[in-house]
């Protein structure tokens, strides 16, 4: 007798499928369709077949997939899509999730183990989803003496600040950025300045000793490394002559700034590690000294939110490094062009011909830019993750010594190099003279 499912009956199986189908249809009709109607009301819907699309007419796209393409095309160019999905939070969260998976597998390989393995059959790719479900289902415990409103707000603020950081990063040419402002770099540093405040607020509001020490450590660390972080970027600003991040990328069409300003790049990278609280600079979360630092009292999804925020922050910093020093989205064209005949004639699969009016959704240049941007960003993220397998934790006095003595000195060397290149007439604002 089979031990796997001794009470299995085929009729129960059919019944469960029918039950699920019934609930899916019911919930979609009662909740899904009204939400879609409301959402469509707010979008500028495209003209299809010489008819102005109404929200009601849009529902016919469920039956006719080829009608969805103009809708998607119109959706992609809305601000809502930009903020939530592509250059904004969704894209960043996706890369952050990939980062967590890569970190775990890479560290495991480095340490002669297998890492996540069972969840999701193939090399544990669903481990992150499992961890997320676990965190959501856990109870949230708040210390009795905590300052509750601030304690509740801190994780949300942390994620929100990280998301605001992401909004300033240009991902591809042609305005694929949520907020393209002329003082982009300044805005980035304004947002980075919020992180220590949130950290200290959450640490202090927990009203507990270990978070307090962790918060003070984080404050020391972030403030003393923000100065070299800002100074190291000054060389790029001198050579580019602009604070707009998109213009900084465009100035690197021929040469990346890391070629001329390697010292600045190294200083920025080290300061970035400290800002991100990555090993060897993970003092605010040093578990053998102060339990989990300023994260000690967070539980359940509050902890999950802080982790999400810190990985989104990791993505944003890596992307900023790519934008400033590694030429952003610039790179040779490798994305294959979309075949013309599919756009004109559609794809014939047996008796059915699927037509795609108005393809491609996204142009070839933009996809190529995104590809290069993602490749470079993942490379930088990999370099950020690597020290975790190699270095122990540093001590706070040594950390401050590095920040205040060595890195700031190197920053000035970097600025002198940039000024020298400018006055020697080799390079000038906007790239090669």
């Amino acid at each position: 007798m089979s031990a796997i499912a001794p009470k299995f009956r085929f009729s129960y199986f059919i019944k469960s499928i029918l039950d699920n189908a019934f609930w899916a249809v019911t919930l979609f009709a009662l909740i899904g369709i009204p939400i879609m109607m409301v959402l469509f009301f707010y979008f500028n819907l495209p003209v299809m077949n010489d008819k102005l699309t109404t929200p009601y007419l849009m529902l016919t796209t469920i039956a006719d997939p080829s009608r969805q393409i103009p809708l998607l095309k119109s959706l992609i160019h809305t601000d809502f899509f930009r903020i939530t999905a592509f250059p904004g939070f969704g894209f960043a969260a996706l890369l952050a999730a990939a980062t967590i998976f890569i970190e775990r597998k890479m560290l495991a390989k480095l340490q002669l183990r297998v890492g996540p393995f069972y969840c999701g059959k193939i090399e544990g790719i669903l481990q992150l989803a499992g961890d997320g479900l676990k965190l959501i289902s856990k109870e949230i415990i708040i210390p009795a003496k905590a300052d509750k409103p601030i304690f509740w707000a801190a994780p949300v603020l942390f994620v929100a600040t990280a998301a605001a950081f992401v909004a300033l990063i240009p991902v591809a040419g042609g305005g694929w950025v949520v907020a393209d402002i002329d003082v982009g770099l300044l805005a980035v540093f304004a947002i980075i300045g919020f992180f220590p405040i949130i950290t200290v607020l959450s640490a202090w509001s927990a009203n507990s000793k270990f978070p307090f020490i962790g918060g003070i450590r984080a404050l020391h660390q972030m403030i003393s490394f923000e100065i070299p972080l800002i100074l190291s970027v000054l060389g790029v600003v001198i050579l580019t002559g602009s604070l707009n991040l998109s213009e900084i990328v465009q100035s690197q069409i021929h040469y990346w700034w890391i070629v001329f300003l390697p010292i600045g790049a190294i200083v920025f990278f080290i300061a970035m590690l400290a800002e991100l609280e990555r090993i060897p600079f993970d003092l605010p979360e040093a578990e053998s000294e102060i339990v989990a630092g300023w994260l000690t009292e967070f539980s359940g999804m509050m902890y999950g939110l802080v982790q999400l925020g810190s990985y989104v922050k990791l993505y944003a910093f890596s992307a900023l490094f790519v934008v400033l020093f590694l030429g952003g989205w610039n790179g040779p064209m490798v994305w294959p062009p979309f075949p013309e005949e599919i756009i004109k004639n559609g794809i014939t699969m047996g008796p059915i011909t699927a037509r795609f009016p108005g393809l491609p959704l996204l142009d070839q240049q933009m996809l190529n830019d995104t590809l290069w941007f993602v490749i470079k960003t993942m490379g930088v993220i990999f370099m950020v993750l690597l020290p975790r397998g190699v270095f122990p934790r540093i001590r706070i006095d040594l950390l401050l010594h590095i920040g205040w003595y060595k890195l700031i000195g190197l920053c000035f060397v970097n600025i002198f190099i940039a000024l020298g290149l400018l006055y020697a007439g080799v390079l000038g604002p906007g790239g090669i003279l």
């Binding site: 560290l107 480095l110 340490q111 002669l112 183990r113 000793k209 270990f210 020490i213 090993i279 060897p280 993970d282 003092l283 040093a286 578990e287 053998s288 000294e289 102060i290 339990v291 975790r388 397998g389 190699v390 270095f391 122990p392 934790r393 540093i394 001590r395 706070i396 006095d397 040594l398």
Partner: protein, 377 residues
């Protein structure tokens, strides 16, 4: 900063600046014990170790069991180092009962205890690595230690709690191809642990953190009665395998590792050098070991000692480990006392941590080669 404080533990001073931290027993950086640490900013004003959370009453238990039944529970204080923990007890009981250990058993005891020392030090090193935030140094020793654990399992039949030594020899002879297997594994193990130098001991961040942290001078090390790696890191050449050779150690060339600095770095390096030395000792012992012969003397059931008392000590992974047995012509010992290295090394912790930075606490604490369960017995 607070003004002059009296030496020792009585450092109670009411000051708003001073914060009391309860490190342990639920703290990830404490082990089965509690450290009451008072900090002024980032500096430790006082440290009061509070062991006793894993007291098992091994010594009292031993008074109600006969000499053979005592074997399995006496190795519990340090299961990773179970052969060495049992060693002084077996030596003592042999003297009480007047047993002569066969030559082959002496060498096999040396091999088993050196293998066990490596297993223990690997575990200790793994925890030292994770205490300093070096996760690779946690995984590598924990993985490489399996190599020797498998070997010990083939010899003794158990992975960690071997109960291999019995009064009068060892419990059973080794399997047929033991010598080749042991040599091969020990050589590979030596190659692996030499790689640790590149990632851990020569790591500039590790050196910057541990060098000069918690310096224990030669005089203080002797005065406070430290032992083992803590003592040898302070420049005192005291290794019982060399000074008071027991069993087959007298016929082997044992080199004792001594460093002069007395800081956490030296204390963390001595056990690693000991592992390399253990590999040498095992190779020598395998060469000199008699190829055949009995490994155990036949014992009477319920053996009784005379009206006698005996004290024997061996060099364990944490230093000198002594066993004092009082016999009153009974099958059970009248009194049994274990003198353990962990407890002796713990005593110097308040002196070392005073005035250190909080970040140095795990680096100094675990470098003392302290095992909480052994200290509590």
């Amino acid at each position: 900063m607070t003004t002059q404080l009296p030496p020792g533990l009585q450092l109670e001073k009411v000051d708003e600046r001073i914060m009391t931290l309860n490190v342990g027993p639920q703290h990830p950086g404490s082990g089965h014990m509690r450290l009451i640490i008072k900090v002024d900013g980032d500096y430790i004003v006082s440290c009061d170790p509070d062991p006793g959370y894993v007291h098992r009453g091994e010594e009292k238990m031993a008074e109600y069991r006969n000499y053979i039944v005592n074997i399995p529970h006496l190795e519990r204080p340090v299961i990773h180092d179970s052969c060495n923990v049992l060693y002084p007890y077996c030596l003592g009981v042999e003297e009480l009962l007047g047993l002569e250990v066969p030559e082959r058993a002496k060498y096999l005891r040396v091999i088993a205890s050196e293998l066990n020392r490596c297993v223990y030090i690997q575990y200790w090193l793994a925890i030292y690595g994770i205490f300093l935030g070096h996760s690779t140094m946690f995984m590598w020793p924990a993985g490489d230690r399996e190599l020797l654990i498998d070997l010990l399992e083939k010899i003794t039949g158990a992975r960690v709690t071997h109960a291999y030594f019995v009064p009068g020899g060892i419990r059973n002879d080794v399997p047929a191809n033991f010598e080749d297997m042991c040599l091969k594994r020990v050589n590979y193990f030596e190659k692996r642990i030499k790689e640790y130098a590149a990632i851990f001991y020569d790591n500039p961040i590790l050196i910057s953190r541990t060098q000069g942290a918690g310096v224990l001078s030669r005089e203080d090390a002797i005065r406070l009665g430290t032992t083992g790696s803590t003592l040898r890191a302070s420049g005192v050449d005291f290794d019982l395998r060399k000074k008071e050779p027991y069993d087959a150690y007298g016929e082997l060339d044992v080199h004792s590792n001594v460093l002069k600095d007395g800081d956490s770095y030296a204390r963390s390096k001595i056990p690693w050098l000991d592992m390399l030395e253990s590999c040498n000792i095992i190779r020598q012992a395998l060469q000199k070991m008699p190829k055949s012969g009995s490994v155990r003397v036949k014992l009477k059931p319920n053996p009784k000692g005379g009206n006698d008392e005996v004290y024997k000590r061996v060099e364990s992974g944490r230093g000198s480990l002594g066993c004092y047995i009082v016999s009153r012509s009974q099958p059970e010992p009248y009194r049994l006392k274990l003198s353990v290295g962990s407890f002796r090394n713990l005593i110097c912790m308040p002196y070392l941590l005073k005035g250190e930075k909080l970040g140095n606490m795990p680096a100094v604490y675990w470098s003392l080669n302290y095992w909480p369960v052994e200290a509590d017995r």
